[in-house]
Amino acid sequence: MNSTSAQPGRLLHLDNVTIRFGGLTAVSSVSASLGENELTGLIGPNGAGKTTVFNMITGVYAPTEGAIHFENRPVTGLKPFAITERGIARTFQNIRLFPSLSVFDNVRVAFHLHVTQSTAHSLTRGRKFRAEERDIIDQTRALLDIFQLARVQDEPAKSLPYGDQRRLEIVRALATRPKLLLLDEPAAGMNPAEKVELMKLIRFIREKFRLSILLVEHDMKVVMGICERIHVLEYGRKIAEGTPAEIRQHPAVVAAYLGKEVNH
């Protein structure tokens, strides 16, 4: 429970994190560490507790036991918005955009963490306020340009096709300028060609924005293809950790994740 348990140089550290809902233990003393600029995968069969771990890191749930450290500072039990302020941004398994806001505003609003003027300044609308607003509008455009969303910037987010919505959600998260980006099943509902694109996109984001990425994903190909380290959950417990090559050979993983009945 003390901060010395966090390892120096590690970006995110989970220390024996447990959460119980009623009588049910959804996640049971999971420990894991993430490094700077690392691409990590979190996998496991459906219902293994991946999204629950995600929700604890992002403050949606507070762990019943254990601690979470980010940049060696405790973030356990902080509210979601406070966690985002610290530099952790996320996407959702079932896309959660601001449906009635334009694509542009979806991204613009995420820049709010970097606005220096207060709410009251939007009433007086002085020179400095307007300069900053113009600056944010420019940055929003630039970001949308990078991800080829500029052409639809005035459309309401809900009218975009599925793939664009997924991408917009990632762009919106990037606008908060995170040090760690959590992606919850970004490949869900994509065909193989789109998945290849997504893998390129994730690598590109990591290089371009120099951040760490934690990926919860079902698709083994995607996870094995891009992650440097993989953590495996089953029934709320961590059963393995290692490089893709190690995970592929790991007997517990083969048994749990790929199904015991594999016989060929």
């Binding site: 601001f98 709010h112 709410t119 609308r125 009218s159």
Partner: protein
């Protein structure tokens, strides 16, 4: 150079001043209705900030209006009258300060109401705000020095065309300016998806409280104007039905639309006057229209564009 929005505001204020100078030529009854329109615009636009833009359903707006009305009325009629006399300035000159004080009082109550209850959502929040509105009414009924349930009489008629529409113009400007900024987009984000808004680092509680307190402030101003227009206020005048009336304006105008809500406020005030001819059938028509509206056009009558554009001005 001022931003365009502020130039528009100044022109509006000047126009209100000019029309006000000629208001003695307008028929008394019509002037009364017209000034009422200004007040209803303030009420609708301020509630729109809470219900429309921030998506927090409040059913107690009339309560904040009551606080403003009583606070302002006390300053010009009750104990405050002596202080004003002592200040030696014309009471009409002090009127904006009186209105401001009414607004502040309402904002303060808004904070006290909003801070605990904005954790609730949807119809629960609606019921709690309704409850607070009723409590405010009951408390006012029990304060004898404010006239109790008989109400407060003899409030001077300070509300002119300029004050009514000047305040309306300022309210519209403030509501527009508040949501038209990077921070202000947060209000809309809270309305759209609270969980996603939190995940983007928005302190949703803070946003809700700002919207609620600002909305209450302008409702208080409207209350002050109302008190000094009618000359008489009573707790019963700020009941649940009044809150509903304001809610209907916001819904009719299309929640979260500036222009639509203003148009709706004008139309409904006029309609309400016209329906007086129906006598006791007036409210039957009114409620039937409300149901019909929800069944046929729940998004409001005046909704055109679906996405809002960005502008720094």
């Amino acid at each position: 150079m001022l931003p365009r929005s502020q130039i528009v505001l100044l022109i509006s204020l000047a126009t209100a001043g000019i029309i006000s100078a000629f208001s003695s030529r307008i028929d008394d009854y019509i002037l009364d209705v017209v000034l009422g329109i200004g007040i209803n615009i303030i009420l609708a636009v301020s509630l729109n900030l809470i219900n429309g833009f921030t998506g927090q359903f409040s059913l107690g707006h009339a309560g904040f209006m009551a606080v403003g009305a009583y606070a302002a009325g006390t300053l010009t009629t009750g104990p405050g009258k002596a202080w004003i006399a002592a200040a030696g300035v014309s009471p009409a000159v002090l009127f904006p300060f009186v209105l401001f004080a009414g607004g502040l009082a309402a904002a303060f109550v808004g904070l006290a109401v909003g801070a605990p209850s904005l954790r609730l959502k949807g119809d629960y929040l609606a019921i709690v705000t309704l409850g607070f509105g009723e409590i405010i009414k009951v408390i006012l009924q029990n304060i004898e020095s404010l006239g109790g349930s008989r109400g407060m009489v003899g409030i001077p008629s300070y509300t002119t065309f300029f004050w009514s529409f000047g305040a309306a113009a300022i309210t519209i400007y403030a509501a527009w300016a508040l949501v038209n900024s990077t921070l202000g987009r947060g209000f809309l984000a809270v309305a759209d998806d609270e969980i996603a808004a939190e995940a983007m680092g928005l302190n949703t509680t803070r946003y809700k409280i700002i919207a609620f307190v600002t909305g209450a402030f302008f409702a208080g101003i409207a209350g002050g104007l109302y008190a000094h227009l009618k000359g008489y206020i009573s707790p019963a005048g700020f009941d649940f039905n009044k809150s509903i009336e304001i809610v209907v304006m916001v819904i009719l105008g299309g929640m979260g639309r500036h222009v639509g809500v203003v148009i709706a406020a004008v139309l409904l005030t006029v309609l309400s006057e016209k329906l007086r001819d129906f006598g006791d059938k007036r409210m039957i028509v009114y409620s039937a229209l409300l149901i019909l509206l929800m069944l046929t056009r729940p998004q409001g009558l005046f909704t055109w564009k679906s996405a809002r554009k960005a502008s720094p001005g």
